[in-house]
């Protein structure tokens, strides 16, 4: 589905991503792990079009998508969430969802002024869809709350919900579990699994929580120092010498072996 081929990203003299190559198979939930500073988030940003790679290319379903801006990638079905939740804080939860679908006729000013009937009809559809999503995520009681007032975990759910407003093909999740309590984390995990099985979403997620990875991901890819170190099931990765060494080097061995 997604092929990353020898991608480099340099900031001045610092090589954040240094020749990473990997593949994300269609229908998989791929985990991306690695010690801090391994270049995971930078690689995410390159794939998602936020950063332009210094060298290398990224393709999606055989089509070169290197350096395309995020809003174009969105149109191709590549969506993402953020490490720190990027909700639209002054808008309600429902508005956070209804804004997502592209090509709404009401986004053109002419229609907003002079074809209000058509816009209103579309809007009803959108609201219905948004309510379904909220129900699916079990946060429908929050629909008219300002998104800025949600808890950290609820914001993450909301971000996941945004991807459900359109027909996403690949969703990149950047530490979706960070700072989320156990109960909510389970809700998020359930949602991801259901989306994967029921809707055929392909996921790629950066995660530090090994239990969470273990529950959801196959395969798991481990990065270190800007390169891909190993790929396999969670148990294979945990047993991999290079991986242990990489984590040891940064004093985080216990996190892997725990």
């Amino acid at each position: 589905m997604i092929v990353v081929d020898d991608v480099h990203k340099h900031f001045g003299g610092f090589h954040a991503v240094d020749g990473a190559s990997l593949q994300i198979a269609e229908g998989s939930i791929t985990g991306l792990i690695g010690p801090n500073g391994a270049g995971k988030t930078t690689l995410f940003n390159v794939i998602a079009g936020v950063l332009k790679p210094t060298a290398g290319c990224v393709s999606m379903a055989g089509e070169d998508i290197t350096g395309l801006p995020p809003h174009t990638l969105f149109g191709k079905g590549l969506l993402r969430t953020f490490q720190i939740a990027h909700e639209f804080h002054s808008m309600t939860v429902r508005e956070n969802l209804t804004m997502v679908p592209g090509g709404q006729s009401g986004e053109a000013l002419w229609n907003a002024w002079f074809r209000r009937g058509k816009v209103a009809a579309e809007e009803r559809e959108l609201l219905k869809k948004a309510d379904e999503v909220l129900e699916f995520l079990t946060i429908d009681h929050l629909r008219d709350e300002k998104a800025g007032n949600l808890s950290g975990g609820q914001k993450k759910l909301l971000e996941l919900g945004r991807t459900m407003m359109v027909d996403a093909k690949v969703v990149f999740l950047d530490e979706v579990g960070a700072g989320v309590n156990r109960t909510l984390l389970n809700t998020i995990g359930d949602a991801i699994l259901r989306l994967n099985s029921e809707r055929g979403y392909t996921f790629c997620m950066i995660e530090h929580d090994m239990d969470f990875i273990g529950r959801l991901c196959d395969p798991v890819i481990c990065m270190a120092e800007g390169k891909v170190l190993a790929e396999g099931t969670i148990d294979e990765i945990k047993a991999n010498e290079h991986v242990i060494e990489a984590y040891l080097g940064t004093g985080l061995k216990n996190k892997v072996t725990a």
């Binding site: 801006p69 809003h71 990027h86 000013l109 907003a112 209000r116 816009v119």
Partner: protein, 434 residues
């Protein structure tokens, strides 16, 4: 107190102030303030679109207002046939050549392979183009400006009804905003601010120095009006008779009638703009804009083309400012480029938006009226205040003279104070965004 009640009271207060002016000073003054208040409100709406909806920090308002004013001249004034004959075509040809040079340079930069050759080629195009442009353009300008410099000395306008100039003013400003937005919108807010401030200065210096265009600093007076002249009303027997029958002084009545006619035009424009702005804000378009302002990165990731939308709103807001500029020049009846000062036409409009409430159309409109009222009335207020303060001082003392003479500077001080106080105690303005 409910929100709508509070808003109603605020508007009632501002219009009450204007009414009080009418009762205690004169209806002419009140209507004069009301008319400029309407224009100020439209300018504030334009800035509010850029700042309130999209968070774009444009402090080049003055430039767009001035372009609107230029439109009033270019559309409304009669053409100067003699000047066209002397060098009009040459001037136009020169401008076309200049534009072609820039287009060619941009194309060369985009199409040629990277390297030293590209830089040299672009430089060569620019130098040759610049010289040809000057060679064609300069003699034309000299010829045009030689034609009766004290009275005309410019190409004149199209001689169309001046109301046509209003949308044209908007278009002219929109065109300039598109060019500026294409180059400068990628910059972060502080840089964008300075870039727009500078570009506004450039627009003004073009207006001041290109005499062939709009007489430069020699000003264009007698821009046609969409309403009758007071003096014609005073001469019209029907009007005089009717006013006398109603018990009004025909002279006062004529100037009030003219002001009311202007107010009618302005109110129609303002209401139309408010309707359009409100409809837009309530629609999915407005939702998208708020999303972009809340979080550009997320909006981009959710498929919204942030750059294109910024450009759109920048162009729209500037067009509204241009429209207001054309209306103002029509009301003044003249274009005086020296009038355009950043303190008055950029920063004061910003005070209106911030005090009124950025992001809220009604807030911007309220700010426009309130700040314009104060801008006009703080002067007599300051004088009166100084009179009171200096009451105890002996006549002819240095301090008394100094204080009385400095009263006029109270105006700037007050505007700054209001801005700072509002930002401190009601940072979202008098009518905050919902």
């Amino acid at each position: 107190m409910s929100v709508s009640l509070k808003n109603t009271l605020l508007f009632a207060l501002v219009f009450g102030l204007i009414l009080a002016t009418g009762i205690f000073q004169s209806w002419n003054v009140a209507l004069g303030i009301f008319n400029m208040g309407l224009i100020s409100a439209i300018m504030a709406l334009g800035v509010n679109m850029q700042w309130g909806y999209a968070g774009l920090f444009n402090i080049g308002v003055m430039g767009f207002v001035a372009l609107g004013g230029l439109a009033a001249v270019l559309v409304g004034m009669p053409p100067v046939g003699e000047a066209w004959a002397a060098g009009g075509l040459r001037v136009i040809l020169g401008l076309v050549l200049g534009a072609l040079t820039i287009v060619a340079a941009i194309l060369a930069w985009a199409r040629l392979p990277h390297g030293r050759m590209r830089a040299l080629a672009v430089l060569a195009i620019l130098v040759v183009g610049f010289l040809t442009y000057r060679w064609v353009f300069d003699p034309g300008v000299v010829a045009v400006e030689k034609v009766n410099p004290a009275g005309t000395g410019y190409l004149g306008g199209l001689g169309l009804p001046v109301l046509v100039a209003w949308p044209v003013g908007g278009l002219l400003a929109a065109g300039a905003a598109w060019l500026i937005g294409k180059t400068a919108l990628g910059l972060r807010s502080d840089y964008l601010a300075i870039a727009t401030l500078g570009i506004a200065e450039i627009i003004i210096s073009v207006l001041k120095n290109e005499d062939w265009l709009s007489r430069g600093v020699k000003n264009v007076v007698g821009v046609p009006r969409p309403v009758p002249y007071e003096i014609d009303l005073q001469k019209s027997e029907g009007f005089v008779a009717r006013m006398q029958a109603w018990g009004f002084d025909p002279v006062t009545a004529s100037s009030i009638a003219v002001k009311l006619a202007y107010a009618g035009f302005f109110v129609v424009v303002l209401l139309a703009l408010i309707w359009l702005a409100e409809m837009a804000l309530k629609s999915p378009w407005g939702r998208m804009m708020r999303a972009i302002r809340d979080n550009e990165v997320a909006a981009e990731a959710m498929g919204k083309d942030v750059t294109a939308r910024h450009l759109q709103i920048f162009v729209l807001g500037s067009a509204v400012c241009g429209l207001a500029g054309a209306m103002m020049t029509t009301l003044d009846g003249q274009l005086t480029p020296g009038t355009y000062q950043p303190l008055r036409f950029t920063f004061l409009v910003w005070v209106m938006v911030i005090v009124g409430g950025s992001g809220n159309n009604l807030g911007a409109v309220l700010g426009g009226f309130l700040i314009w009222f104060l801008w006009v009335q703080v002067e007599p207020l300051g004088r009166w205040l100084m009179d009171v303060i200096t009451l105890g001082l002996p006549d002819g003392s240095w301090l008394k003279g100094h204080l009385l003479e400095s009263a006029a500077h109270m105006r700037l001080l007050t505007m700054g104070l209001i801005l700072v106080l509002v930002l401190r105690f009601s940072p979202r303005g008098l009518i905050p965004e919902r």
